[in-house]
Symmetry: C2
C-alpha cells in the first residue's frame, strides 16, 4: 500500500491523502484513523498533509463531504427508475440508504456522527439538506403535493428515523449480536407502508 515515489512532488497529494483517509476510515473506523497512517499509505512525510489541510479533522471532513456526494447520487439513482411518490420509489430509497451505510460504514458513521467542529460546517449542512430533499420530494409526490409543507415534513421524518436507525443497528452489528434474522426487503416495504398509512 505504501506507494514509493521517485519524484519529490507527488502530483496530486491532496487527492491521494483523501483516498488514503477514506480507506483507513473504513478499515479502522473514524476514531482509529491517524494522519501518520494516511501519510504512510500515500508515501509522504507526516508533515506533508498540512500543506493541504489545516488539521486532522479537516481531512476527515473532506472524506465525509465526498461521501455525502456519493450518497446523494445513490439516492437519486434509487428513485429514478420509479414513478415519483410510489411505495416502490420510497422503499427503494430506503434500500439505497441501507446500502450506503453497509458498504461504507466508516464514512456513514463519520458523516452522521460528526464532531463539534464539523457539525456546524455550512457545506455539510447544505449537503444534508439536499440529501433529505430527495425523500421530501418523494413524500410530497406521494401526498399529491407540489410543495414541501408541514404535512410532508411530518410524514417524511419518521421514515428517515426508521431507516437511519436500521442502518446504525446493522453496521453496529446489533442485529447479529441479538441473533435477529431479518427479511430486509419485506421489513422495509411493510413498515414504510405502515408509516405512510393514516
Amino acid at each position: 500500500m505504501t506507494a514509493k515515489r521517485s519524484n519529490y512532488h507527488h502530483g496530486d497529494l491532496r487527492a491521494g491523502l483523501v483516498e488514503a483517509t477514506r480507506q483507513l476510515v473504513e478499515d479502522k473506523g473514524p476514531d482509529r484513523f491517524s494522519v501518520s497512517d494516511a501519510c504512510r499509505a500515500a508515501g509522504v512525510s507526516t508533515a506533508a498533509p498540512y500543506r493541504h489541510f489545516n488539521d486532522r479533522d479537516e481531512m476527515l471532513l473532506e472524506v465525509a463531504a465526498q461521501g455525502m456526494e456519493r450518497f446523494y447520487e445513490l439516492m437519486c439513482d434509487a428513485v429514478a427508475p420509479h414513478e415519483p411518490g410510489t411505495l416502490d420509489a420510497i422503499t427503494n430509497l430506503g434500500h439505497a440508504y441501507i446500502r450506503f451505510a453497509t458498504t461504507e460504514p466508516g464514512v456513514f458513521r463519520l458523516a452522521f456522527g460528526l464532531t463539534r467542529e464539523h457539525k456546524d460546517n455550512e457545506d455539510m449542512i447544505a449537503q444534508g439538506k439536499r440529501n433529505y430533499g430527495v425523500l421530501l420530494s418523494q413524500i410530497a409526490a406521494y401526498l399529491g403535493k407540489t410543495e414541501i409543507d408541514e404535512e410532508v415534513l411530518e410524514r417524511a421524518f419518521p421514515l428517515w428515523t426508521m431507516v437511519h436507525g436500521l442502518a446504525f443497528l446493522l453496521i453496529d452489528e446489533k442485529t447479529t449480536a441479538l441473533d435477529l434474522k431479518l427479511d430486509l426487503p419485506v421489513m422495509l416495504r411493510e413498515n414504510t407502508r405502515r408509516l405512510l398509512s393514516d
Copy 2:
C-alpha cells in the same frame, strides 16, 4: 475538578476513574476521551489506571456497561405505570429511550457505536438482549401472546429502529441543522401506532 488527595492510596480509585471517564465521555465525546484527562480528574498519576483496567478500551467498556444498566432501569420505570402491551406503555418506552440518549449522549453513543474489541463482549451482549427484552415483552403483550415468537420480533424491530434512529438524529443535531421542528410526543405516539397497525 482535579481532586488533590493527601493519602497515598485513593480509597476507591476504580470507581473514581469510571466516574471521571463517564464525565469526560459526556464532555468531549467517546473518541476525544483520554486516559490522562481521567487521571488528572481523579488526581492520580497516568500509570495508576492500569492497576484496575487492562487498557483505555476497558475503561470505556465499564462506563458503557454501567450506562446500559441505567438505561435498563429507565426503561423498566417507563413501562411500570402502564398496563403491559398498551400503546401508552410502548410509547412511553420510546420516550425513555430518547430521554436516555439525550441526557447521556456520550454514553449512549459509546454503548451503541462500540469498537471491534467491545462489540463481542459477552456481558455487553447480554445487557443488550435484556434491554431489548423489555420492548419484546410489551409487544408480545400487545399481540396477546405469552411467548416471544417470530411475529413479536417482526413487529418490535421496526419500532426499535425508528426510535434508535430518532435518538441518533437528535443527539447528532441533524434535526436542528435542518430546522426541523418536531412535536416529539405526537410524533412518537402516532408513528408507534402506525407501525403496530396492520
